[in-house]
């Protein structure tokens, strides 16, 4: 018997493929958003509302992840947005390889913004990087104020947390302040956007933040070139 030190990340293969995806997206100048939530929190509705407000700014596409059906892709195509459906069968999350394979069947040529709607699940998707630039979580306020404490990992991983269905707060008996405090407790840096896809309240704030985030990332990726040219001038 002998012991071999390994020290390898179990998700190493996923990380490698995610990195390949990231490079493909970067080379093509595509900003990629990974949208995660429990089932029924409103990811697809948030996407629809976001797309209506952002479609004039960017050429966009959507990859949909679900266990079954093409219902979500149909909703995206109804908006005139190119969409590709991944049906995972029984797998409870999207992984980097699924996205990689999707790129063989779905043309990202000319896209500037790609939304990936993950499989509805409050736990698993948080562990699998897809090669995205931005992780966003949708949480419906009617799920209760305490869930961020109970299922903290996804909240912690998300840069922005969208608190959807605020129009239902009075019926659900959930205090928004308490929910926001619980999100910040497990994810101090999170940007929080209370909203309702039904009434439209709060969606513009999120969309403006997103546009800002995309533009900042664009400037950052353009920065090395600026550095190079300024160096060329000094030489």
């Amino acid at each position: 018997m002998h012991r071999i030190a390994v020290g390898t990340n179990i998700l190493e293969v996923n990380e490698q493929i995610a990195e390949e995806n990231r490079q493909i997206f970067q080379e093509n100048g595509i900003f990629v958003v990974n949208l995660m939530s429990a089932p029924g929190a409103g990811k697809t509705s948030v996407l629809e509302e976001t797309i209506k407000r952002i479609r004039d700014n960017y050429r966009l596409g959507v990859i949909e992840g679900d266990l079954m059906t093409t219902l979500d892709t149909d909703r995206m195509e109804a908006l005139g947005v190119p969409a590709y459906q991944i049906t995972t069968g029984t797998v409870c999350h999207l992984d980097a390889r699924m996205i990689h394979n999707a790129l063989h069947g779905f043309s990202i040529d000319g896209l500037e913004l790609l939304f990936i709607e993950n499989v509805g699940n409050l736990v698993c998707p948080a562990e699998f990087n897809l090669g995205e630039e931005l992780k966003v979580m949708v949480y419906s306020t009617v799920e209760g104020a305490e869930k961020p404490k109970k299922y903290p990992v996804m909240f912690h991983e998300a840069e922005a947390v969208l608190l959807n269905k605020i129009d239902l707060l009075p019926y659900a008996g959930v205090a928004l302040e308490e929910l926001e405090r619980n999100v910040l407790d497990v994810s101090p840096e999170a940007e929080i956007f209370p909203m309702s896809c039904r009434t439209g309240e709060g969606i513009d704030d999120w969309v403006n933040w997103l546009i800002n985030r995309i533009e900042t990332a664009k400037k950052k990726s353009a920065a090395p070139e600026t550095l190079r040219s300024s160096r060329a001038v000094t030489l």
Binding site: V6, G7, V91, H93, C124, E127, P152, D185
Partner: protein
């Protein structure tokens, strides 16, 4: 149940290491799993029972060490663990703290015949 996918990842890595060392039998796999991950120890053990069939690790012991979530406060440098809840604010100065452990998902070592 993403533990199944994770367990497959574990076995791929373990079998690759065993092959590198020309071994046909893995006797132990030691994991470090952070408590701030979406991985459940029991589900991992259950998945392992299923996935190890017919692999070099068919008779291997799976040992899982759960790594505590620890955070460091950027302003006072205090390192603290969570008690019953995962909160990220320093108990001394209330500043948001950074994770220093508890997100691990790695194979620490394997033992071969």
């Amino acid at each position: 149940m993403h533990e199944l996918a994770i367990t497959q990842g574990i076995l791929e890595i373990a079998e690759r290491e065993a092959a590198k060392h020309h071994s046909g039998r893995i006797t132990r796999i030691k994991l470090q799993i952070g408590e701030f991950t979406g991985v459940v120890k029991e589900a991992l053990e259950f998945s392992f029972e299923v996935v190890r069939q017919g692999t070099l690790a068919e008779y291997a012991q799976l040992e899982i060490e759960v790594v505590k979530l620890r955070k460091r406060c950027p302003s006072c440098e205090k390192v603290f663990e969570s008690k019953d809840q995962f909160d990220f604010f320093c108990p001394q100065c209330n500043a948001p703290a950074q994770i220093i452990s508890g997100r691990e998902m790695q194979i620490e070592y394997i033992e071969l015949d």
